[in-house]
Symmetry: C2
Subunit: 453 residues, 2 copies
Amino acid sequence: MTAVGDDFAATTVTAASPAYPRAGLAASLAIETLHGSLSDPALDSMNLLNEIAQHHPGAVSFAAGRPYEGFFALEDVHRYLDTFCEHLAADRGLSDEEVRRTLFQYGRTNGVINDLVAAHLAVDEGIDADPESIVVTVGCQEAMFLVLRALRRDERDVALAISPTYVGFGGAAQLADMRVLPVRSGPEGIDLADLAAVAGFARHAGFRPRACYLIPDFANPLGVSLSLQQRRRLLEAAAELDILLLEDNPYGLFPAAGERLPTLKSLDTGRRVVYFGSFAKTVLPGARVGYVVADQPVLGPDCRLGVLADELSKIKSMLTVNTSPVAQAVVAGRLLEHGGSLVAANVRESALYARNLGLVLDGLARRFPAEARTGVSWNAPDGGFFVVVTVPFATTDALLEESARRYGVLWTPMHHFYTSREATCQLRLAGSLLEPEQIDEGLDRLAAFIRAQ
Amino acid sequence: MTAVGDDFAATTVTAASPAYPRAGLAASLAIETLHGSLSDPALDSMNLLNEIAQHHPGAVSFAAGRPYEGFFALEDVHRYLDTFCEHLAADRGLSDEEVRRTLFQYGRTNGVINDLVAAHLAVDEGIDADPESIVVTVGCQEAMFLVLRALRRDERDVALAISPTYVGFGGAAQLADMRVLPVRSGPEGIDLADLAAVAGFARHAGFRPRACYLIPDFANPLGVSLSLQQRRRLLEAAAELDILLLEDNPYGLFPAAGERLPTLKSLDTGRRVVYFGSFAKTVLPGARVGYVVADQPVLGPDCRLGVLADELSKIKSMLTVNTSPVAQAVVAGRLLEHGGSLVAANVRESALYARNLGLVLDGLARRFPAEARTGVSWNAPDGGFFVVVTVPFATTDALLEESARRYGVLWTPMHHFYTSREATCQLRLAGSLLEPEQIDEGLDRLAAFIRAQ
C-alpha cells in the first residue's frame, strides 16, 4: 500500500474531470461506491500501525504480537516437507505418484492433514475431534470468515464478542456484513451478566444472536484467562442463551507458570463450541495454516444430518478452493517429528515466551516501583504474549507516533481493540519477538516516554 | 465431506427432539438459518461431481480441468525455495535474518513476489503493471472474492458474466451476496449486443452493473477465444457502458497452434480491466497462488487518490492476512529459473496440452465421422484444456453417473456452467491430465456411451 505519485495523477482523468466517465480514458472508482468496510477505519487500523512501525525501523517494538524469529530455519522447512511425504508413503501407504498428487495437485477442500490435527487436539488439548469435523484453513482468519459467513443469514443475525478483542474478528465480521455486539470483560475474563444482557437486548430488538467470540487463554489484547469455574459457567450460559461459543486459542500453549487450563471445547458436551486453532505461533506464520473444529449438527433438506464443517467446506471451496497442501505439509512435518504434540514441539518456544513475559513484568516493576508509580499500573497475565499497561493519559495514535519518533519505542494503543475506538489510557505490550537486551532497552525508552507525558 | 453415521446421530439431540434447544445438550443448526448460498445447489455442484468421480476410481476422467501431473517433482519444490532465498540475498540484498523473516514471519498483505509477477506480465503478456497494483492471493479464487466484495456496496450492485462460465465466479459472487447477470456467448466469444442489453436492463431496473467477467483465451468451459477485433470492441463497449472488465486468464499460455493473442489488459489504455492471474496451471495447483492486477484509481476521502489494489489488500488483511510466503517462494523459484518467463518455464507443458487437445479432437473425428455423426458435433478450440461436445440427448447428472458406472468414463455436464442450471445437450471434455492411451481408451468408452443413448 503506497500513496500514488504525481506521475499517476497526471495520466488519469479523475472524477473532477468533466470528461468523466464517458470518455473511457479511466475507470475511476469513488470509495463511497465500494463496500462499506473500506470506509471504516477498523479495516485500516493494522495498516496504520504497520506504517508507523515502518517509518521507525530503529524503534524497539512491543507492538506486534508475533512469534520469536530466532528458531526459524530453512532446513527445517525442507525436512518437514520430506517428513510428511515419508509419512504419506509409510503410514498411509500412498505410491510416489499419489504422494506427489497430494502435495501438488488440487486437493481436498477440508484439508489433507486433518488426522494429524485431530491427533494433536487429543494429545495436547483433550479434545476428541472427528477429522471430518475439521476444516484446515488459510490461517485462523479464514476460519473466522467461514463461520461468520455461514451464520449470517440476513441482517438480523449478529455476533457477540468479548471487548476488547482481536481486531481480525471484527474485520472478518465486516466482510460478512455481520454486526458485532461487544460483551464486557470482567475480572474473570468475561462478564456473564453482561453476556446475558447483550444477548437478551439483541433478541428483544429483533436480532438473532448466533455466537460469542472470545480467547479464553492469555487473551489478545488483555492477556487474561478464564478460570475453570468461569469456563463451566460460560458453557452453561451459552446453552441457556442458545448461542454458540467461538473459542480462539492461539496462545494457549504458552503458560508462564502453572498448569494449562482445559479448553472450552474439551469441556463442551453439547457441541456448543466452535474451536479455532492456529499454527502461526506454534509452527510458522509463513505457512498460513489454521483450522476450525465445527462439529455442530446441521439439519439439511430432507432432514439429512451433517456437520457444520461440511457447510464451511462448501464456502471455502468458493473462497480459496483449498489450503496449500505444501503449506499443510510444513505443519504436518513438525507435528510428525514430535509425536503429534505441539506441546512437545514448543518446549524451547514456551520457555522463551515465559522468560520474556517475566522480563517485561519485572522490568515494569523496577521502573515503576509501587511507591512512585504516579498512576502507572499493569496486569500480570499467567502466560501468552501480552501485558496491558494503564497510564495517566490517553494513548492516541498521535502519541504512538511521537513515542516512536522521539523515544524509539512502539506499543499498541488499546482503542484499536474496542468497537467504539474511543481513546483509552491503556497500551498493549508484547515481548514475544524480542531479545532480553531489547526488552530492557525498550522498557527504558517506554519509561522515559511515559514520564514525559 | 461425508455423511454422518448412526453413531453420531445416536449421541445427538436433533431438532425433532422435544428437548431441543433449551436442554443445551446439542447446538443443532437448521440449514435455513445459515447463509443462503448453502442452500443453493451451485455451491455444491463441484462436490457432487467430485463424489461421482470418487465412486468410480477406475473411470477415465475427462471431467477435471486439472494440470498434467507427470512433471510434478518434490525436488523441484525444494530447489524453488532455495532459489528464491538466494534471490532475496543476492538481488534484494537481504541478510540471512531478513530472508528467514520474509519466508516465515507474518508478511506483507499484498505479497512478497509482486516484482517477479510484474516482470512475468511484462515479458509474457505485454502488460505494464506496477508491482504496487498487484495483490498476490490464495489462488485466483480469493482474488475474485476480493474484487466482488469491494465492488458490492449494497444489493443494487450487480456483476455481469459471460454464460456459460467458470463455476467459481458465481460461487465467489454468492459469498459476497452479489447478483450475477448472464451475458450470452457469441461465435466470437461474447455477444456485445447482449452485453449492452443486459447492462441497460440492469440500469433501467435500478441496479448498478459494475463489471463483466470473462475468460478471453481458451475459455472454461467453451474453449473459445475472442478475436483481436472482438477484444478491441469489448474494451470500447466497457468504456461506453462504464463497467469494468474482469479478465481471467488461467489457460492463455497454452495455444495449440498459432500466435497468442494480446490480453485485454495489454490493450487496456483506460484502466478498465481488472486482470486475474493463476499459477495453478503454470507452476503448481498445490502452491495455491494467484494474483490480481487492480490499477483502477480510487478516490478516497479527502480526495486522496489510491488504487483498487490497496482496497483489495485491506479486505485480504481480514480474510487470509497474507498469502503463504512459503507458497509464494515456490512460484518465485520457478519464475526465477526461467528468467521471469512462464512461457519459457512451460515449454514442455504447452507442447503436452497441445498434443492432448489434438488427440481429443482427432479421436472424436475418427469415432464420429461426418457422414455418420447422427447429431454428435464438437467445437475446435485453438488451445487450452477444453472441448465441448454436443450430443442428441440431455446430459444430466444422472446420465453422468450412468456413464461412469456402466461405461467407465467421466465428463462434465454443461448445465453446471449456466446460472439457470437447466439441462443441456452438451458435455465438456478436458484431456489435460491424461496420457495418450487414456485419451484413446476414454474416447472409445465415451463413443460407446453416446451411441447407447
